[in-house]
Symmetry: C2
Subunit: 205 residues, 2 copies
DNA sequence: TTGTTTTATTGAACAATGTTTATTTATATT
DNA sequence: AATATAAATAAACATTGTTCAATAAAACAA
């Protein structure tokens, strides 16, 4: 009898419904303004039901944060086939920046907001596979760069962190609305232009 | 009759009292958990009174954010007398990072949280003198570096933004608790070590 | 000292928030 | 049809920022 199967399928469906509503509200109005009650309203259920499908609000946003990482990873992997490691690193960097500029709200969730990592620390015992996947993509490039003579005397890890920090700093200043406030003339493509400047630096390593 | 003066002095005193309580709570418990009612409790006044001294919660935190910038600027200026511009830039960078590591909660307020800039956008019509002061300190270094032959072909502005983004990325990944989650071996002095790696890069420009 | 005006302060209210729990409704099993 | 199980709700709790009419306190004028 397929009753249990159907029930499981229905449970899955409602879970997806909640997640879809949460995602849609989150993209439109951001983290703070996406409340449990708003989500419940959107799916036409009572607020309480959400707690039968997710431990708390953090768990919902941890899931959305995972989706974001899958998306980012897929974007970066579109250039993973490039043979030249330094060229590949720059291309990946560009993909990273473009993703963040295109999806600022999700990016904030992935790298700045506390909600998803709070869930992580409590539940998954410190393993952050999502973040590690991105870190490893860059580290692979860095390692191959080192084999070609770049970054002499530096460890792969600290160089990888440096590159990631560069990328993160460029976009997070923009997302936190600070870069718009700086007294700068050429604000148009500030992020990409500055990455170009960083790329020139990399060439000289 | 010095009545008006005394009254003004008393008003100033209560304002300071509110600010002191807010600062103390904020340092201990962070932005979210510092509520108007907590502040009112701490100074033994009713919550309503705070709105006679500050427009809203954002204005309080804008003031604390200003204090943070004054502090950071003072720290960076302790090495402003160094003759060699590249050496000065590295020294300033270190001061910047050390400030952020020592005052993570204030740093987050200065460069990440929305509260202070929301107040700014509404009230001060887009001028962010606090941030500009830091930007200018670095820009001065960059300009002098360019005159010495560094950063050939790059504009001072985009290079300055690059340097600032580097610094910000290094510390904000740590403050947002992401760097602790990365699968990295040498986490001890990750920020400072990575800045060392960046410093080596700068030497080659 | 008394009455009046101005200022400072309060306390209660409002609309939101995340979360929990007892209760009810719906479904499935015997 | 009766019973057991699962799903969903409504109401409550303790918070939050903010507003505003009512009160208390102080300053001024007579």
């Amino acid at each position: 009898m397929g009753v249990a199967e159907r029930k499981l399928r229905e449970k899955e469906q409602l879970r997806t419904l909640i997640l879809d509503a949460a995602r849609s509200l989150f993209f439109k109005y951001g983290y703070e303004k996406t409340s449990i009650r708003n989500i419940a309203d959107a799916i036409e259920y009572s607020p309480g039901i959400i707690y039968h499908y997710f431990k708390d609000k953090n768990e919902i946003f941890h899931t959305l944060h995972q989706e974001g990482f899958n998306h980012l990873k897929a974007e970066m992997e579109t250039v993973a086939n490039m043979a030249d490691p330094m060229g590949r690193m720059k291309a990946m960097g560009k993909k990273y920046l473009q993703f963040a500029l295109d999806n600022p709200v999700v990016y904030e969730l992935m790298f700045t907001l506390e909600a998803p990592v709070e869930n992580l620390i409590q539940v998954e015992d410190q393993a952050w596979n999502e973040g590690d996947a991105i870190f490893d993509l860059i580290k692979k490039c860095v390692r191959e760069c080192i084999m070609m003579g770049y970054f002499r005397g530096q460890t792969a890890e600290s160089t990888t962190y440096t590159v990631l920090a560069m990328l993160h700093g460029l976009v997070s200043l923009k997302i936190s609305k600070r870069s718009n406030l700086f007294k700068i003339n050429e604000k148009e493509n500030l992020v990409m232009n500055s990455f170009q400047a960083f790329s020139y630096m990399l060439d000289r390593q």
